[in-house]
Amino acid sequence: MGKAHEVASTSLPLHGVRVLIVEDDFFIGLELNAILSDAGAVVVGPSQTVASALDLADDRTLSAAILDIRLGDDTVEPVARRLANHKIPFLFYTGQSKLDPVRAAWPECKIVSKPALPAVLTAAVASLLKRQNKAGAANLAS
């Protein structure tokens, strides 16, 4: 799909930020796309399968990612690992309980529970970026 909204302003919270969306449900992916686009982000995806998501995850221009944990019968774990390798911050947008093994495997990772208000999601992605920037700055400083 990859259709960017015409409304773009530098004042938007996610202005120009490339965000990967991995979500197997068409409608939720559509809505996420809309929310992030509304916030000024450039959406990559939404990807509905692990295979396609892994391809997209290799995009080094990505700033962040929103991952659904379960994709059909698969889990998003390989994508999460790939992103972590690329030091791309991500958050889980999921309806899974806390006992879910993937959630347990990434205890540090930010979780946004389904369904969420658009503002919450936007803020969560923004905080990811902020954290990433801090770490990046720290890296640069060192």
Partner: protein, 951 residues
Amino acid sequence: MQVTRANEIKDYYDFLRENAEESQALLGDLLISVTTFFRDSDVFEALSRSVIPGLFKDKEANEPIRVWICGCATGEEAYSIAILLLEEAARHDIRPQIQIFGSDLDSRALAIAREGRFPAAIEGDVGEERLRRFFVKEGDHYRIRQEVRDIVLFSVHDVLKDPPFSHLDVISCRNVLIYLDRDLQEQVCATFHYALNPAGFLLLGSSETADHPSGLFRTVDRAVRLYQSTTQAGEKARLVPRLLGSVRVQEQAPHFTRGPGHTAAVGEATLHRRALEKMAPPSVLVDETHRILHLSDNAGRYLLPPGGPLSTPIRKFGDILLRPTRRSEWSSIHSSAPSNLRNAVLSGDVADLARPELKFELRSSLHRVFEQNQSTLSLPILVQFNGHAHRVHLLVRPASEDTSPRHALVMFVEGEAVDEALLSDSRPVTDETVRRLSQELEMTQSRLRTVREDSDAANEELRAANEELQSINEEYRSTAEELETSKEELQSINEELQTVNTELKFKLEAISRTNSDLQNLMAATDIGTLFLDTGLRIKRFTDRVTELFSIKPSDEGRPIADFTHQLEYSELIKDARSVLSELAPIRREIRSRSDRWFEVRLRPYRTVDDRIDGVVVTFIDVTERRKMEEELRQEKRLVDLSREPIFVWDFDGGILEWNRGSEELYGYSRQEALGKKKDRLLGTTVSGSSFEGLKAALLEQGNWAGELQQTTKDGRHLTVESRIELVQMDDRRLVFESTRDITERKQWDERQRLLLGELAHRVKNTLAVIQAIARQTLRSSESNEDFIEQFDGRLAALSRAHSLLVESEWSGASLAALAKQELEPYVPGRPERLHIEGPQIILRPDLATPVGLVLHELATNSTKYGSLSRPAGTVSLSWTLSVGNNPQVLSVVWEERGGPTVKNPKRSGFGSTLIEGSIPGAKVQREFRSKGLFCKIDLPLTRPVDDGKSS
């Protein structure tokens, strides 16, 4: 000899002389104490036939019958004869006093004889009749009855040395003489002859005789060696023979010189001495006591042994006999040959032996020699030799100059024969006075001779009396000894009685204590006990018995069969009899009329000496026990019936109990489980702990409850809820465990938890989908009404798809059903406007929902703009399944007819996005044809291999 290492008899003899102990030992060896009752039965038959009746016949009532058993050893023979005598006495009216002397050298044998206790083996020697009459059985011994014992005296006596018993009727000396040499045998025979009453009997052993010295005994029965004294009643003047004992003191006297005849050497000096001896006057050497020490060859001529009864020659010679050591000497004396006299070693008062004419002169001369040490030559003495008178001078002088030992030599100097007549004639009495004096002298001399003869006779008699007294003394001594022995016996019996008495006292105390114990036991015991005798009469019973039998203490001795009882036990008497006959205990459980139960035990009453003396019946109330047993049985049955596994195991060992519930749950049968270690059999693990930890907790708290993992016989893993209790029973620790299988519940719980998680997830997801649909709908709505209408429609479509999935438990939805549900609401009452056709296809849940939504969008659009907006418009929905492709592809075709001409919409709204993109992996092709909309959706049915270009 070997013991004393003596090589020759002589050495041993010397050793014996010096060593008193050895001589005692030798004596002990030589004394042979072999004897039995009635040894040689024919001897005793002869005795009882030819001797004993005579004894009784001749006796006066107060005259005792006296018998001497010489060498009686352990007394059997003495008792045998005593028995014979007593038997004979029983046949006579008068019962003379019977006295039997048993003598032996061996004091040990006599001790046995005195005790009169003989082993049972004598049964063979003594007839049954006599055994009963004269013996008392004491265990395995027989004791001679007191009646017999009283008439027998035993004493230590040496027939060779000690004076004999006297006035005997019978002497039995069997198998004693064979151990003596001939000389001693003759001495003993003489002794016996002396000891016997006139015509008394002597019994000897089978190889012994009383023929020597001859004339003392005559043979009565040679076969049994029975002899009778030749002395007739009324004969007197018997002399006791010399005994070895009386001369012992002289044994050490110096040996006498032997006659020259024994000297082989013949020198001139000897020749001279012989000539002298032959020529010299006959002489006699005497010692201080006037005993003849030696006679010259021809001195016998002047000796004339005094006269006496011819039947007692030995006594006469015995009187002068010192040592009859050799047979030759004995015979020489016996033959009285003067030529042989010199060879005899003689002793005796020479004055007694000398011819009467010489006696007086000889005695006075000897006296003078020894008193005054003066030689004397007597005046001629007329001595009659063979009717001729000879003048004989006696020359008596000391034999040597030495003062001690003093011997005197008596020489007889004989003149020519003198004619007596000539003598008297040639010497006529010249003087009357002398004649008268001479006559007077002769008278006096003859009176003197008479007096002397009288004196001699009196002397002889006195001696005999003395000897007799000595015998009597001996007898008294024996009696005293016997009395002493009896006294000792009495003392020891007394001692024994005292011991027995003390023992009895102790026993009595013990018995009374036992009795009081028994009384207390009977009173205290709660068990009914009934003692019956062999006739089943009541002997004793405890109080509890009275509750069952109507008996009182006064009923003791009455038969138990006479009493009624409370038991349903009619065989009581029969059982009791059977116990008495079979001696096997009987045990029964019997109910009483009051509905109580008793265990009745009957067992034989055994006395301490193992005799059966009745029956002991015990009644034990077992009502409680039976009740408990019954309860226990019920409980066991319950446990067994229970479906719950219940089992018991030893804390330190294996499984002890295993009910049916356990068998069912774990698959192990009772036999398989018993004895096995519980944790190993069931592979028990404890979640969060260990089996050892469980055991430790058990020890600490006594019980434990919780979940355990266990494995069944067929390998299933179970989770059980277990309750365990540790119970200390005596020295064992038993563990009671009951478990409940909660495996399924556990699995359910888990499934439920998963389901709940899934539900939460799905609800959240669905909410997120609805949220997205709402927002997307809102974005493309022109008004609120428009939003509500579109959103309601989409929500309803979503709901219908979910309904179908729920019906199939979320396994999938039939495409036909889905299409009908989604589309029919748009053609209310006119189903013919819809044409649905295709093979049966079940859509996966993740496909069913979007497909439903897409069909809803198509139908909505058609109602607004397409064929369904016209009354005659129709919709056809058909699908096919591609064949051979992998994955299979479902092709769904939507075709509208009879509607207005449709155009491609200017703006692509949410509806279009939904139709084209919402079905994952599907390819959607839409054509706005003049006849109406044509839409084809190609859908891979298995999850497509994602090529990464899904968009």
